[in-house]
Amino acid sequence: MLSFTSQRLAVALSVALTVSIVAFLLLHLSGDLATAIAGPEATAAQIAEIRHQFGLDRPMTLQYLDWLWRALHFDFGNSFYYRDTVTSLVASRMPVTMTLGAISLMLALVIAIPLGVLAAVYSGTIVDRLALGFCVLGQAVPAFCLGLGLIIVFAVHLHWLPVSGTASWKNYIMPSVALGWYAVPAVMRLSRNGMLEVLSSDYIRTARAKGLRPTVVILKHALRNAIIPVVALAAVQFGFMLGGSIVIEAVFNMQGLGYLAWEAIARNDFPVVQAVVLILAVIYVALTFLADVANAFLDPRIRLA
């Protein structure tokens, strides 16, 4: 277990390091930083001075190491647009995206797991077909269309929920549905498959043969084992959701990380963009690492493989 964990940790760390290089390059590919920092009306002399002052005339590797060192201390420099540090901008937006992601994931799990279990238990019947059909159809509806549709129906038409912003918990309902929608098919398929596999295994047959009630068999024995891969997937999905929330945040005008990044891209504010890319990627890496370890802990077959 220990060697498995340390091995995974090494992979996670090196992936995070590579991602940091990508983020660093993203910033530097966006154009001449000295010109951007100096502003549109700066003279050549001012630009040269800023280039020197910010150390932009040093070799790339040195700049990268310096940048990385500061990034490790949560220092991403200043936004080109706002008169604020990237760190404080990101910190103020983080809670929105995290809350949105967490609610979306919970919503997705609450819908998808029972649906998957039902589809597996009634495998081959109309229930199974309907559940799969729901999945296929769901995957085909773009998140922003769903979001706009929800706004028309529940905010403008029925007046139940607020349209935009992050003022209260009500603001999170529609965005969470639109975002969570996307995780449902994957989670449902996986819980269905896992359930099918477990239901056909020997010990479930034994349990059934012992005369235990079907619901007890399903809930107590089968589900517990079928859920293991879903845990891993849930972690991965959470990472994807944080990355995918940009569209939803844009539709619902929620000032989260995705929205911040989107606006920053439209304003050529690349210090913000690279920080968000890096943060989301590192969160994803951390989540998959934790999921791997948790999985291995729950299912001994994995760490021996």
Binding site: V11, S14, V15, A16, T18, V19, V22, L26, L29, S30, L132, V136, L137, Q139, A140, V141, P142, A143, F144, C145, L148, I152, V156, L179, Y182, A183, P185, A186, R189, L190, R192, N193, L196, A232, L233, V236, Q237, G239, F240, G243, G244, I246, V247, A250, G258, A261, W262, I265, A266, N268, F270, V273, V276, V277, L280, A281, V282, Y284, V285, T288
Partner: protein, 304 residues
């Protein structure tokens, strides 16, 4: 757009052991699979419409006529057959734009998958066939790619290279190869272990020849399945990018762009956004049905 995790597809694609015999019943099974038949019919129809766009479109999709803007579709009180689906905010014929838009979506889907499929297959096959260190390095590359938030990186890259049709295709092509790599890797691993590959190796076939004539044909089914699903993914992502203003540029009649532009009218003229949205859903649904269907019929033991 969130991405379904690669494990989802990976688990459904165990490469079968006896590829030759399986083909016999493939056609029969395909026609027996209702989802595949439905999706296939829809997809063929959309492709036909896209190919015959200049013949089918009643008007020039770019021809604007400000005096006849926002004419509702034929089923509404003020609609008429001259513009069966009405006109947009600049008086351009909506049906014609929709028809030409099918070309753009399909073009983006196909070209993106060609690029990403090539990258992903090369990585996946190499990782699966050579194993060991090659596998470790390539898998690490795949993991790194998975860690990057797709929409965000695509948006940022589109902003850097400038938004355009070519730009979107290249950016998506360079980003969406992960599933190809994951799936071809595991498929290759299984085929590489089979007797006939060992036999080919024993009679001294070159590695390249084994990869091309033994491995590739046998992972083709899996590849096609991933390609269809990725195509749907690319089309949805393009729509999202265009919606966020960093996809293709106006005046191209992209469906995503049409939704984005029609958003302004969503409260009072919902059809402006409803029509392209329905087209987009239909196309993605068709492709997904085909992809899921192909997965079922090529690997019937792994339904679901």
């Amino acid at each position: 757009m969130t991405v379904a995790a690669p494990v989802d597809i990976g688990t459904g694609l165990e490469a079968p052991a006896a590829p030759q015999r399986r083909r016999a019943g493939l056609l029969r099974r395909s026609f027996g699979h209702s989802g595949l038949v439905l999706g296939g019919t829809m997809l063929v129809a959309i492709i036909a419409i896209a190919l015959a766009a200049p013949l089918l479109a009643p008007h020039d999709p770019y021809n604007q006529d400000l005096a006849h803007r926002l004419i509702p579709p034929v089923w509404q009180a003020k609609g008429g057959w001259d513009h069966a689906l009405g006109t947009d905010k600049l008086g351009r014929d909506y049906l014609s734009r929709l028809i030409f838009g099918a070309r753009i979506s399909l073009l983006i889907g196909t070209l993106t998958v060609l690029i990403s499929g090539t990258i992903g297959t090369v990585i996946g096959v190499c990782a699966g066939y050579f194993g060991g260190r090659v596998d470790a390095v390539l898998s690490y590359i795949v993991t790194t790619r998975l860690a990057l938030p797709v929409v965000l990186v695509a948006l940022a890259s589109a902003a850097l290279v400038g938004s355009s049709l070519q730009g979107v295709i290249v950016v998506l092509g360079l980003l969406l190869w992960d599933r190809f790599a994951v799936v071809t890797r595991s498929a290759t691993q299984q085929i590489a272990r089979t007797d006939y590959v060992a036999a080919a190796r024993a009679i001294g076939c070159s590695t390249l020849r084994i990869l091309i004539s033994e491995i590739l044909p046998n992972i083709l089914n899996a590849l096609i399945v991933v390609a269809t699903l990725e195509m749907a993914h690319a089309i949805l992502l393009e729509a999202a990018l265009s919606f966020l203003g960093l996809g293709v540029q106006p005046p191209l009649p992209s469906w995503g762009l049409m939704i984005s532009e029609g958003k302004q009218y969503m409260f009072f003229s919902p059809w402006v956004i409803g029509i392209p949205a329905a087209a987009l859903v239909a196309l993605v649904l068709a492709i997904n049905l085909v992809g899921d269907g192909l997965r079922d019929v090529t690997a019937p033991e792994n339904r679901g």
